[in-house]
């Protein structure tokens, strides 16, 4: 018995797996949280209204996601500091403060969306939002206040597993796989206004400001050394492929059913309900369950990431492992975001839709600044040392950033003009 255990530990092949398992986490978690309530709603709408025709866009999105996230991971490894730390140290307090202020308000609206997602998904199982939302908020809050970083990360990693629900429901929907593959790899472009808005919306929800801060901080928090850089890259790239893959199946599930049946939906809850007559109870429940997990997952990560970033930037004590008295700013911000997010969903006639518009616009305005700061930082040789961007990668990175910024600004414009989604 012992021999077998030693074999698994000592064999070079398994040894690498053990090391990878130790390093794994930040990349996969970040990418998966990206498929939050808002993301699922967007992908459902894309599938239900445009069929498979938008599937191709997930490939360039995956590449863009990998390029941006890899830069964050590299900065974390080279400097041992979070993105907010680096922005503060290199661009001063004014820039940092206003950036953090914007991040706080944008992410509060994101948290509201997540709690709305919790409420909607559980209403499918006939649970009142006045029960589900307070309980969810309490759960999320306790998770961090009572947990350690390791335990929190394990729970998050475990939560990633539940996204498989969407992959299964994608199969249950019985799509025409030929058609799916054709639309993905040999797309025919049709550019009308609604299609463009949807396209930009997908990109907007996939690359969000908070992700850069969260990914970088969590790699730093794990204390990963430059020797493990390759494994970190694997984690990040893996996450960046996994997340659009889940999105892919959401689009497929909705396209194979609602689009074919010509059903118009408004949000993710509609999608789950519409699946019932078209693909059966299980598909509908899996879809709702996936929405619930995604929402509660994002509702834990977003306030955590925001509180971390702000404390980093302002130089306040922060950390899951600290006690409340040691890091009042951190826990105060974390608690406030959860409380505001949860309460907003429970207020009758709260203009949630208006808030969502604001959230999309805010994300879109914030993202260009963050991407530009990231590019400046990653080209700083003093800071990055051997991890500095090389010329070839820089060209790709700059191009990606320019395209993402252009599309994001287009989204802001379209959102302001025509409303969300």
């Amino acid at each position: 018995m012992k021999k077998i255990a030693t074999f698994f530990k000592e064999h070079p092949w398994f040894k690498n797996i053990w090391i990878f398992l130790a390093v794994m986490g930040p990349g996969i978690i970040t990418a998966n949280v990206d498929n939050d309530a808002g993301g699922i709603a967007t992908y459902s709408l894309a599938g239900a209204h445009f069929g498979y025709t938008l599937l191709w866009s997930l490939i360039p999105i995956t590449l863009a996601l990998i390029i941006v996230q890899e830069m964050c991971a590299r900065m974390a490894i080279a400097t041992g500091k979070g993105l907010a730390d680096l922005i503060r140290e290199n661009f001063g307090i004014k820039v940092t403060f206003y950036l953090m202020l914007a991040l706080f308000f944008v992410n509060i609206t994101n948290v509201m969306a997540e709690f709305a997602g919790v409420a909607a998904s559980l209403e499918i199982f006939h649970i009142s939002k006045f029960i589900s939302v307070p309980l969810a908020a309490l759960f999320v809050w306790m998770l961090v206040v009572r947990g350690t970083y390791k335990s929190v990360e394990k729970i998050f990693l475990f939560a990633c597993f539940f996204y498989i629900a969407y992959i299964i429901s994608g199969f249950i929907a019985k799509p025409d796989w030929n058609e799916v593959l054709h639309a993905t790899f040999m797309p025919e472009f049709t550019f009308d206004l609604k299609y463009s808005i949807m396209l930009v919306g997908i990109i907007g929800t996939t690359i969000a400001p908070w992700m850069q801060f969260y990914l970088q901080s969590s790699i730093v928090e794990k204390g990963i050394t430059p020797e493990d850089y390759k494994l970190v890259r694997l984690d990040v790239v893996g996450g960046c492929i996994l997340a659009p893959l889940v999105a892919f199946f959401i689009v497929v599930a909705c396209a194979a059913t609602m689009y074919k049946a010509g059903i118009q939906i408004e949000d993710a809850k509609d999608a789950a309900l519409a699946l019932q007559p078209l693909a059966g109870n299980y598909a509908s429940w899996l879809f709702a369950f996936g929405l619930f997990v995604a929402s509660i997952f994002a509702a834990s990560v977003l306030p955590l990431s925001t509180a971390y970033s702000i404390c980093e930037g302002m130089g306040w004590e922060a950390g899951v492992d600290k006690r409340f008295e040691e890091a009042p700013g951190f826990f105060g911000l974390y608690t406030a975001m959860i409380a505001i997010g949860a309460v907003a969903v429970l207020i009758p006639n709260f203009p949630l839709l208006g808030i969502m518009y604001f959230s999309q616009v805010g994300n879109g305005i914030l993202l260009p600044f963050i991407l530009i700061y990231m590019l400046i930082l990653i080209n700083d040789k003093d800071l990055m040392g051997e991890f500095v961007n090389n010329r070839a990668f820089n060209v790709i990175a700059v191009l990606t950033v320019v395209v993402v910024i252009a599309l994001t600004l287009a989204m802001v414009f379209l959102t302001l003009r025509y409303g969300a989604g």
Partner: protein
């Protein structure tokens, strides 16, 4: 240095002068202040060595001007050289230790509380035309000041809660308790290449700094593994709290042995932080002479000359010659105290005069020592306060000054190093009183 205490606007914040307009000798605009470089030598409070000027709207060029050329430092900064003599470059090479690049907005270790904090502002002390780094501001007021919201926020807080602590609270860390960190990866690795503070004069300094990051057991084991002379040096450089912790962990025998062998003023400081019982236990274990000395020092007020002085100094009897004095200095190369001054006493140890190495080396070796002495009236008394000491040190530019009791018996000496720390703290508290 007496005026130091009473001049207004003695302290200023880096944020107040950054971006200030700089004009040359003829009033022509040179550019604006973009950084201040610091002299990182053995001083506890580093002095500004120069300013970095930024020029140009879109494309910036930079120039470094030695601080001697700064003739006025206020909202507007004037130089005493013409703009033509200043050479601008495309990039300012950050070889020096500068306030913006290495301190402001960076993380530093508060070695007193052993935690990492972020610097929101830098508090500078202006004496004459010299600028010293006194404190770093890590508080909320610093953030608000940097954002230029102070008047607004103050007004609002006053309106809502006039008693708020926010209005008066200053979260400062004295520079001597601040450790700069590397700007690269390893977050808590100390930056040893920056020569600074009295710590850097001795090779054991890094050990002391590293020890502060360890828990008490690791600390103890590291400390015990050192050789005795290194132990003494390291111990002297630890923060007060650390010293206290360490002494309490060592056996009485070890502790007494250690305290006997470090400068008496240091030992006094440590002993005065301990409980009365522990203090007596330790002094009882010491050899009689040292214990007597320490007990005497413990009797003086902490900020009086008696409390500040050290009892280690070089002295010579009145009959001695210049050659004798030089021999004493030579024999005491490794003396822990000041070796540049030597004091002449009579049979009752009364102070007769003092002389310095500089005077001695130019004298005929056979001359009686009393002939080359400075007048004996340069001294302070054990109960004199900080300001008298500062006044004399400044007036005569001595690096140390003798302390006598009421019978003019020489008791000890005070060095500039001892005073500077206390003086900055005192100046700051007086300045604050005036503000309120």
């Amino acid at each position: 240095m007496y005026f130091l205490v009473f001049t207004m606007k003695l302290f200023l914040y880096l944020s107040e002068i950054l971006g200030s307009k700089i004009v040359d000798r003829d009033g022509k605009i040179v550019g604006k202040l973009c950084d201040v470089s610091m002299r990182m030598n053995a001083e506890v409070y580093p002095r500004a060595s120069g300013i970095v000027i930024e020029q140009g709207r879109l494309k910036h060029t930079y120039a470094h001007v030695p601080f001697e050329h700064v003739s006025q430092l206020d909202e507007e900064i004037s130089l005493d050289i013409p703009v033509g003599e200043i050479e601008f470059q495309n990039k300012w090479w950050k070889n020096d230790f500068t306030l913006c690049a290495d301190v402001l907005d960076q993380q530093v270790v508060d070695t007193d509380h052993q935690k990492v904090v972020r610097v929101n502002d830098v508090h500078l002390l202006r004496v004459d035309n010299r600028l010293y780094l006194a404190h770093v501001d890590v508080g909320l007021r610093g953030i608000v000041r940097r954002l230029e919201w102070t008047p607004l926020v103050d007004a609002m807080v006053k309106l809502c809660s006039p008693q708020s602590k926010y209005l008066t609270r200053e979260d400062f860390i004295s520079w001597k308790n601040t450790q700069v960190l590397t700007s690269g990866r390893y977050k808590n690795v100390l930056r040893l290449d920056v020569a600074r503070k009295k710590l850097s004069q001795i090779p054991a300094a890094d050990l002391a700094e590293i020890m502060e990051d360890l828990d008490i057991y690791e600390k103890l084991s590291l400390f015990k593994s050192l050789e005795t002379p290194v132990q003494r040096k390291v111990f002297t450089d630890l923060a007060t709290q650390e010293k206290q912790d360490l002494i309490e962990q060592l056996s009485d025998m070890e502790a007494a042995d250690l305290l006997e062998n470090i400068p008496a003023d240091e030992a006094t400081d440590v002993l005065s932080t301990l409980s009365k019982e522990k203090m007596l236990q330790l002094t009882r274990r010491m050899e009689n002479e040292t214990a007597k000395e320490l007990r005497m020092l413990l009797g003086f007020a902490k900020d009086s000359a008696g409390g500040l002085m050290t009892t280690e100094y070089l002295y010579l009897m009145r009959e001695g010659t210049v050659a004798d004095a030089l021999k004493i200095i030579k024999d005491n190369v490794n003396f822990p105290g000041n070796v540049y001054h030597i004091y002449v006493v009579d049979d009752n140890h009364r102070l007769l005069g003092s002389t310095s190495l500089r005077r001695l080396i130019n004298e005929n070796a056979e001359r009686p020592i009393l002939e080359v002495c400075l007048p004996k009236n340069i001294f302070v008394r054990t109960d004199d306060g900080m300001e008298e000491i500062a006044l004399l040190l400044e007036k005569y530019k001595f690096s140390s000054i003798p302390v006598v009791d009421n019978h003019e018996v020489l008791q000890g000496v005070i060095t500039t190093d001892d005073v500077m720390e206390e003086l900055i703290a005192l100046a700051w508290s007086k300045y604050k009183e005036k503000l309120v």
